[in-house]
């Protein structure tokens, strides 16, 4: 659910990115999507231009009013659309035009990076950094470095597995519960909770991570089961998560009525199927 | 009571031919009790007909009605206004009822939907068994209360035939040999001497062999 502007713009650059997919490894030119905040990073990029600082042509820019606007779900969407990396640049901490948008962005992206790393996509394809309106030079350097980094990582191949994982991440991030938590976590860490007490920050982080991880794994399991019934061991293998962490997800999905068991009389290894 | 069987649906359809305005007529006496021609069975048959003709895409009119009795003229006469609207009357009564309705509504076609089978009793819910053939001269006092005419396949009057074995009839292994029953009952009641008495040759004139029967009771006549 990318709304309004963001959606239209990612859509527009998508076609461009698709083209290069055909190019293959040989003459690999990374395709990078950048989100720049209006007040600092975008101004910094303009300054790089005014100052004629040179940087590689691999990035396409979408201007947003604040880095806080970046929905974590944009990132898997961009990767699915064919980009090799995503760069988010905002104001330096303390300089945010909207007070704390950049801090919120940092929290969200740290969390997202953890997620991408944990699910086998890798955190290296996403960067969040700060560029002030006066740092044209720094902007050019960041683009250069990140392009190099992506070049060394190689093209991002949307294999069926990667696609499954990214779609699962995207679905998870778009769920109301997680959107609320990703949005609310910062407030919970800084302010009193609904009971007028301060929540334990570790616990809040833990809940947030567990919520997203569970949601994500459940979505991935549902995707696996679209192609046919699987045993718990097979699902665990596909998830690359130990069986004892996989089983609770299966229990939850069975409880929600989203998966069930394949009717079989004699098998010791029950196979799970998606519910109709 | 009189016990019957519903005819096969196919046979009923065949008998109906091209008739599509049908009055299904039940009887609230014996055939209701033996679950073959009461209001419920009328409903079932009518429903079957409707479903069939609906399926065949044909036009039809099926009316359900159940009389108190189809063997009394007054009851039959009460539906005279109804009958005019239908091509046939499909009677679910016993043979007597079917005929009496046919007599009353000459020349309208009256079709039986039931095969009348026997005079019998309810053994248990849903199970009936023959007990009487209406021979016109009853001797069950001599035979331990078991009628050898109705219950012996051969209607033997003086003991079993050679086919009785293990208390069962040679015609059908599930049927008790009537004479076994008779002997058992006479033994139980200490009346075995009756078994020794030879029954004379049966005078079948009181039964069907004497032609159609009629009974008149002068004192009751108007």
């Amino acid at each position: 659910m990318i709304d309004g502007q963001g959606a239209a713009q990612t859509g527009a650059v998508q076609a461009d990115a698709k083209l290069h997919q055909a190019e293959g490894q040989a003459g690999f030119e990374p395709r990078i999507l950048s989100f720049l905040c209006n007040w600092c990073a975008y101004a910094g990029a303009d300054l790089a231009g005014i100052s004629r600082f040179q940087y590689p042509p691999n990035t396409r820019v979408i201007r947003v009013m604040c880095s806080g606007r970046i929905d974590p779900a944009f990132v898997p969407r961009a990767l699915l659309a064919g980009f090799d990396g995503v760069m988010i640049l905002g104001c330096h901490p303390g300089d945010c035009h909207y007070l704390s948008g950049n801090i919120q962005a940092e929290r969200k992206m740290t969390f997202l990076k953890k997620l991408l790393a944990g699910e086998g996509i890798g955190a290296g394809r996403l960067i969040l950094d700060w560029v002030s309106a006066g740092e044209g030079q720094r902007f050019a350097e960041l683009v250069r470095d990140f392009t190099g980094q992506i070049r060394s990582l190689g093209p991002f191949r949307v294999t069926p597995e990667a696609e499954g994982t990214l779609r699962a991440i995207q679905t998870a991030l778009e769920g109301e519960r997680i959107r609320w938590m990703t949005g609310k976590a910062g407030e919970l860490l800084e302010k009193d909770n609904v009971y007028g007490e301060r929540s334990d920050p570790d616990r809040v982080r833990e809940v947030l991570e567990a919520t997203v991880r569970d949601e994500l794994r459940k979505n991935r399991i549902l995707r696996f089961l679209e192609t046919g019934p699987l045993t718990a061991a097979e699902i665990s293998g596909k998830l690359a998560v130990p069986l004892k962490e996989t089983l609770p997800q299966l229990v939850a999905l069975v409880g929600e009525g989203r998966i069930g068991f394949e009717p079989a009389e004699e098998s010791h290894q029950p196979r799970y199927v998606k519910s109709g | 009571m009189i016990v019957g069987n519903r005819k096969e649906f196919g046979e009923i359809l065949e008998k109906l031919g091209t008739a599509r305005r049908v009055l299904v007529l039940g009887c609230n006496e014996c055939v209701t009790v033996c679950g073959v021609g009461g209001e419920r069975e009328v409903g079932v048959l009518a429903s079957e007909l409707r479903l069939y003709w609906q399926k065949e895409g044909q036009d039809f009119a099926v009316k359900e009605h159940t009389l108190e009795r189809q063997c009394d003229y007054e009851y039959i006469d009460a539906i005279r206004p109804l009958t005019g609207e239908y091509d046939v009357i499909l009677s679910m009564a016993c043979g007597a009822g079917v005929q009496y309705v046919a007599e009353a509504y000459k020349p309208r076609l009256v079709i039986p939907a039931v095969n009348t089978t026997f005079l019998g009793v309810t053994l248990e819910q849903g199970v009936w068994s023959e007990r009487c053939q209406g021979c016109g001269s009853c001797i069950v006092d001599m035979t331990g209360g078991v009628c050898p005419i109705a219950r012996c396949a051969k209607s033997l009057l003086n003991g079993p035939c050679g086919g009785s074995s293990g208390g069962k009839c040679e015609i059908d292994r599930d049927t008790d040999c009537a004479w076994q029953l008779i002997v058992d009952r006479l033994t139980e009641s200490g009346q075995m001497e009756r078994y020794e008495e030879i029954q004379p040759v049966k005078d079948w004139r009181t039964g069907r062999d004497g032609g159609p029967r009629k009974r008149v009771r002068e004192d009751l006549k108007l």
Binding site: E256 | R40, G43, R50, A61
Partner: protein, 116 residues
């Protein structure tokens, strides 16, 4: 449990499947439904002792009648389930819907009683 099952299943509540009359099932077909199933307590667990057993016999009889008139006895079925078996209910609903779908619409829908 919010289990999903097809929306073409509509329920008529009765105190006990023992109340389900053969005529009711036939009437349902007359009014144009494509299939009927009777869902009762597990055998031996009837709240009214044995209503579900009676209902099963009647369903068997209706199957015969439907075969006779050419609608097919498979259009009617008896299922047993307990109050905690929501999953089973949904499963039967799906199974029955699938069965009826493969049988196609009831042929008895073609016509209504029209003669005056």
């Amino acid at each position: 449990m919010r289990l999903n099952y097809p929306s073409n299943v509509k329920v008529v509540k009765v105190p006990c499947t023992g109340r389900v009359d053969m005529l009711l099932i036939l009437k349902a077909f007359e009014s144009g439904v494509d299939g009927v199933y009777v869902a009762g307590c597990m055998e031996g667990e009837c709240h009214y002792l044995r209503g579900n057993l009676r209902a099963r016999r009647r369903v068997e009889q209706v199957k015969k009648l439907l075969d006779e008139v050419g609608l097919g006895g498979e259009r009617v079925e008896m299922f047993n389930m307990s109050a905690s078996q929501g999953q089973r209910f949904a499963q039967f609903a799906r199974e029955m819907t699938e069965r009826i779908r493969s049988l196609g619409p009831s042929p008895a829908k073609k016509n209504k009683e029209v003669l005056p």
